[in-house]
């Protein structure tokens, strides 16, 4: 793009020296950037770089502590979202801000101004949906929609306000590759109509493919502006992370056929466990010692239910559905499975894997009180906890996993996402389990910690354990796993060799193309 062309474009939004402080943390520190009309502008940065804070200030849910926001060259104080919308700023949230118990039309009505009568909303929504190729049923209950459909509702809701600037926060993190392509087409149509888009992401290939310019954030500061088309993914990554991430050493791809099968799931079926839960349908796979086995899929396709079934949080009627080292364990509880040498790490850190208001030592007791009762408990049937033993384990985990924390034994809630995840996984690594099942190991974790966690998982498998990784991040699975199977609507595909499978194949499987069929 020639310099003269850029000069001709009209600037829509500019941010000057924007600063936001939380306590001692400068979430945004003198941030500058601008967006022109008809531009897709990327805001690139790792988790915790300050992207969300910046966006919240643009949308009026947070107030800056310093600096200013210029809209069409006029300084504006955006006090609340309704004012942002009035200016022409629309927002599609990362964690969708939809209401499950309301219909699509009602969800949309909530973000329209009061002049649109409620009865007209469905009609309007369907008109916009058709125009941009986003099909929806306005009367459907949002709680019943898939993730991709929910995002469509979000986008329609945003477009109905006729915004000039649309902010998208990590829009593809929940989509299949095919769904992402559809989204990009919609965004390109919008650009051709002269709308501007602020595209927040940490996915480099997307940014390079879609965006006209990029602003890179790190630790709350702008570390550079660039034209993504002129950069390579690795140069973008270097700007984003600030240091080169060491590439992880993967085990050899070829799986030794003679190795012991550690985990065997045979014809596992399960009815839905609640109103929003997915049924599991006839799932079978084996994981031998030494393998990292990946389970891919879009959120909500039964991965959580499968995790609960494998962990024993939900037991099976038929013991033979799950076999652990030739021992049928389907009817055994989570602690009996742990005692046999299995370990588990769920997706949700707070309220499942750990409890925010308990200390780290207590959180170790949470998953290990039964498997390591001789270490952490004394007093016979009284089962008195031994704080000193727990602290010793904690300091061992802190050292091996390089956990950053304040104080000796703080509450779990005070740790950052990445550091807490290191403790949660370290708690299980510390046991040297022969089987580790982990759900979303690096969700919301910064790149440095994520690399370390992946390396630890591979090291565990190298030492002869079986590792099962459930993840929505295809890159992560392709990097670590020997084989990858895909979950779709409670069914599991035939496992694919990670070294040979293409992203397209995985994407099709995620969309349910030939799930359940023997490949």
């Amino acid at each position: 793009m020639a310099a003269s062309e850029i000069a001709q474009r009209k600037q829509l939004l500019a941010v000057e020296n924007l600063t936001k402080v939380f306590g001692t943390l400068k979430a945004n520190d003198g941030v500058d950037f601008d967006i022109d009309e008809g531009e897709i502008h990327a805001l690139l940065g790792e988790n915790g770089a300050g992207k969300s804070t910046l966006v919240k200030m643009l949308f009026g849910t947070l107030q800056p502590d310093g600096g200013q926001i210029l809209w069409r060259s006029k300084p504006q104080i955006i006090t609340k979202p309704s004012f942002a919308r009035q200016l022409g700023i629309g927002m599609v949230f990362q964690h969708f801000s939809l209401f499950d118990s309301l219909s699509v039309a009602e969800n949309i009505a909530l973000s329209l101004d009061a002049s649109t009568p409620l009865s007209k909303v469905s009609e309007e929504a369907e008109r916009v949906a058709d125009k941009y190729g986003l099909s929806i049923n306005a009367e459907a209950m949002v709680g019943d929609l898939s993730v991709g459909e929910r995002q469509r509702v979000e986008i329609i809701r945003c477009l109905l306000q006729k915004p000039n600037l649309i902010i998208l926060d990590e829009p593809t993190s929940v989509l299949t590759p095919q769904e992402s392509d559809r989204l990009f087409e919609t965004l390109e149509t919008l650009r051709s109509e002269g709308k501007s888009i602020l595209y927040i992401s940490h996915k480099l290939d997307e940014v390079k493919r879609l965006c006209d310019r990029a602003t890179v954030l790190r630790h709350g500061k702008v570390v550079g502006h660039c034209i993504p088309a002129d950069e390579t993914p690795s140069s973008l990554a270097a700007m984003m992370v600030g240091e080169s991430i060491h590439t992880i050493r993967k085990v050899a791809d070829e799986t030794d056929k003679n190795r012991e099968i550690v985990l065997s799931v045979q014809n596992l079926s399960q009815k839905p466990t609640g109103p929003f839960s997915t049924a599991l349908k006839d799932i079978s796979f084996d994981v031998p010692a030494g393998e990292v086995f990946g389970i891919a899929g879009v959120a909500g396709n039964g991965q959580f239910e499968l995790f609960e079934a494998m962990s024993g949080e939900r037991m099976q009627k038929d013991a033979a559905m799950i076999t652990f080292r030739n021992d049928p364990i389907g009817h055994k509880s989570i602690n009996e499975r742990r005692k046999a040498g299995a370990a588990f790490s769920p997706e949700e850190r707070f309220g499942h894997a750990a409890i925010a208001t308990l200390s780290l030592a207590d959180n170790i007791l949470l998953s290990r009180h039964a498997s390591d009762a001789n270490v952490y408990l004394s007093g016979g049937i009284l089962k008195i906890a031994k704080p000193s033993a727990l602290r010793k384990t904690l300091s061992r985990i802190v050292e091996t996993m390089d956990v950053r924390k304040s104080g000796e034994n703080p509450d779990a809630g005070t740790l950052s996402g990445g550091n807490l995840q290191k403790v949660i996984l370290g708690r299980e690594f510390d046991r040297q389990p022969s089987l580790l099942i982990v759900d979303q190991p690096t969700w919301g974790v910064d790149a440095g910690a994520a690399a370390r966690i992946r390396q630890s998982l591979i090291d565990l498998s190298k030492s002869g354990s079986a590792v099962v990784v459930i993840s929505q991040d295809l890159d992560e699975l392709l990097e670590m796993c020997g084989r990858i199977a895909v979950m779709s609507e409670g069914q599991m595909s035939e496992p694919q060799q990670a070294s040979t499978v293409t992203r397209e194949t995985l994407g099709l499987l995620m969309g349910g193309a030939n799930a359940g069929q023997a490949a």
Binding site: F96, S101, A109, L110
Partner: protein, 308 residues
């Protein structure tokens, strides 16, 4: 049974049902906003004592009603400040509102005990009250009865047909999303809580100005709690609350009649029927887990602290 007796029975059932209906409708609005206020019993009993006292002082039952409504709303504000602005536990705070209400009403009402009450007069609507049967049933009642019917329809319309009602439901479904959309969650909840308080106050005044026009300590006798159960029973739908309230009204009246007829069942067992019925109804409703989960406002009872 002659029509005359049937009409008389219906009228007594309506009198027993009206306070439950009004209190439950108020609580429905509160819970639809995502707030669980267990203080209904306390707010009702405060309304009862205030209504009685204000009527005594002014000589007007209508001013008594007005005072009870204001008192209920102000009293609920106490709950609002704690649970909304200070994010305290809603269950514990609601309980303490009930305990405080029972205590304070006992103190305020000490001098009212034994005084003859002022009864709210029935208002016969001209022409309509002359319609056979229905006229006596529906158009010759006291003001609170009319309010209870209008309130049911108004709340149904408000909750499901208006934009403000949609906002209320959205706050109850997901306060984080509502906040992100720029809805003032705490303001909506304050208004809902105060509306619930006003309704409970009015319901209490019905007890001391219509049902038994006098003041006795703890005269609500668990009706606030039954109103809470009715909201669950109705799965947060206003029209079903009418059915529930009249069902309970019928149970109450049936046990009175049985006692009056000298049925050979201990009076205490009969008196406990409404409470036992409440438990049975709650069990029946909760066996349908899917429906309960689908209808329960998803953020019910969870405190919301805006991130500035």
């Amino acid at each position: 049974m002659t029509p005359e007796i049937a009409i008389a029975i219906f009228l007594t059932i309506a009198t027993a049902a009206t306070p439950l209906l009004i209190a439950a409708l108020g609580e429905l609005v509160v819970e639809r906003s995502g707030v669980l206020n267990l203080g209904v019993e306390g707010m009702m009993v405060m309304g009862a004592v205030t209504g009685f006292g204000a009527a005594q002082i002014t000589g007007s039952a209508y001013l008594g009603l007005l005072a009870a409504i204001i008192c209920g709303a102000l009293f609920s504000l106490l709950f609002g400040v704690l649970t909304l602005s200070l994010a305290t536990n809603q269950v514990a705070t609601g309980l303490s509102l009930t305990l405080l209400g029972l205590g304070a009403s006992g103190m305020i009402g000490e001098n009212f005990i034994g005084l003859p009450g002022i009864k709210l007069k029935a208002i016969e609507i001209p022409l309509l009250s002359d319609i056979p049967v229905i006229g006596r049933l529906l158009f010759a009642q006291d003001l609170i009865f009319y309010i209870s019917i209008l309130l049911t329809i108004a709340i149904w319309y408000f909750v499901f047909k208006t934009r403000a009602g949609l906002t209320l439901r959205s706050v109850g479904d997901n306060h984080t999303s509502a906040h992100a959309l720029g809805i003032n969650v705490l303001k909506v909840r304050y208004l809902a809580v105060m509306f619930g308080g006003a309704c409970a106050g009015l319901a209490g005044a019905h007890l001391s100005l219509v049902y038994t026009p006098q003041w006795t300590e703890n005269m609500t006798a668990g009706r606030g709690w039954i109103a809470l159960a009715l909201v669950v029973f109705a799965s947060w739908r206003p029209l079903r609350i009418v059915a529930g309230a009249y069902l309970f009204g019928a149970v109450t009246i049936a046990q009175f009649h049985a006692q009056a007829q000298g049925v050979a069942i201990p009076s205490q067992l009969l008196s406990s029927l409404p409470y036992i019925a409440t438990i049975i109804v709650l069990v029946l409703i909760s066996t349908n887990k899917r429906m309960t989960m689908k209808n329960t406002p998803a953020s019910l009872g969870k405190p919301f602290v805006p991130d500035r």
